[in-house]
């Protein structure tokens, strides 16, 4: 039985169990994974970008790729959480978008797929 079928489950906007906070966390995680994938491929394809992402020389561009992805994830999480924290949002849309972004992020980190995107 889901919340729409269960009369005992409160779905009042502003209630502490509002699913907006969860939707914000899911979508932000999807965004972070997608950015990780995009930067992985972009850094591989552009020496200039790879050089810009070389935040810590012993680790190389990996340091920048992951630092930027984590920063985007956390910033997106903070912004979305501030907007959705006490709201019931269109959870199905938010989670579907999050899963698409997660799948793209996973795919883009796979080197043969990255090579395909770069036309190698």
């Amino acid at each position: 039985m889901t919340e729409s079928q269960n009369p005992n489950v409160s779905r009042v906007a502003g209630a502490p169990h509002a699913d907006g906070a969860v939707a914000a966390a899911l979508l932000a995680c999807g965004i972070g994974c997608f950015v990780l994938g995009v930067l992985t491929v972009a850094g591989d394809g552009s020496k200039r970008l790879a050089s810009a992402l070389n935040f810590y020389n012993p680790t190389g561009p990996l340091a920048g790729v992951t630092t930027v992805a984590i920063a985007v994830w956390l910033i997106a999480w903070a912004i979305l959480a501030a907007r959705w924290r006490t709201k019931d949002v269109a959870f199905r849309n938010a989670s579907a978008t999050a899963f698409v972004l997660l799948a793209l992020g996973l795919l883009l980190t796979f080197p043969p797929f990255g090579d395909l995107v770069l036309g190698r």
Binding site: M1, T2, E3, N6, N8, V9, R11, P16, H17, A18, D19, A21, V22, A25, L26, A28, C29, G32, C33, L36, G37, T40, Y56, P58, T59, G60, L62, A63, V65, T66, A69, I70, W73, F91, R92, S95, A98, F99, L102, G105, L106, T109, F110, P111, P112
Partner: protein, 191 residues
């Protein structure tokens, strides 16, 4: 019998942080499967029980192990792995150079390490999100089947990416171990 500093740190990264992370993710996934029972969730949505302290500790430790694994991997071990070998150097101390020196082993780097070093980061991100929802928003988990499915999906993604990273790491370290540094004696040699 001894172990070098680099071997010891690699053990900490893979066997301790990575191993615990993977085992904890498996455990968390099983817990989530158990907790996703609709009748149980409906009952808990009406009268939510307090979240036991051990569960909070478990999820925090889970995420912490994941971050410790990727951070030690990227900032301590990966620099040893990718260090540029000087001309004429012993390549056993330069795993990337050793692997890419032969077409028979270059795939361990060009596919294995190139994939592992990036995909591994998805695991702690997803695990942190799952841990946060399960410790801070358990009511939303209990109240919504959609929330449960979505969180379980991300937990599965964390498990998959951690397993990929762990498996590649183990195989790459077998093909070209990260070695070097001071040797720590664990036991006197057998007579």
């Amino acid at each position: 019998m001894g172990v070098t500093t680099r071997e010891f740190v690699t053990l900490l990264h893979g066997m301790f942080f990575g191993g615990f992370f993977l085992m904890a993710l498996c455990g968390a996934f099983m817990l989530l499967l158990d907790w996703s029972d609709a009748k149980r969730c409906d009952a808990h949505a009406v009268t939510p029980p307090p979240i036991p302290a051990w569960q909070k500790f478990y999820f925090v430790a889970l995420a912490a192990c994941g971050w410790a694994a990727v951070l030690t991997g990227a900032y301590i071990i990966y620099p040893w792995y990718r260090a540029i070998a000087p001309a004429g150097a012993d390549l056993t101390l330069y795993p990337k150079a050793l692997l890419t020196a032969s077409p028979n082993t270059s795939g361990w780097h060009s596919l294995g390490m190139e994939w592992k070093e990036h995909v591994a980061w998805i695991a702690p991100m997803a695990a942190t999100m799952v841990a946060w929802v399960m410790t801070k928003h358990r009511a939303a988990w209990n109240a919504s089947c959609q929330v449960r499915n979505a969180v379980m999906g991300f937990a599965a993604a964390a498990l998959l990416t951690a397993a990929l990273a762990g498996a590649w790491g183990a195989m790459i370290d077998k093909a070209a171990p990260v070695e070097g540094g001071r040797t720590m004696r664990l036991m006197e040699n057998a007579r």
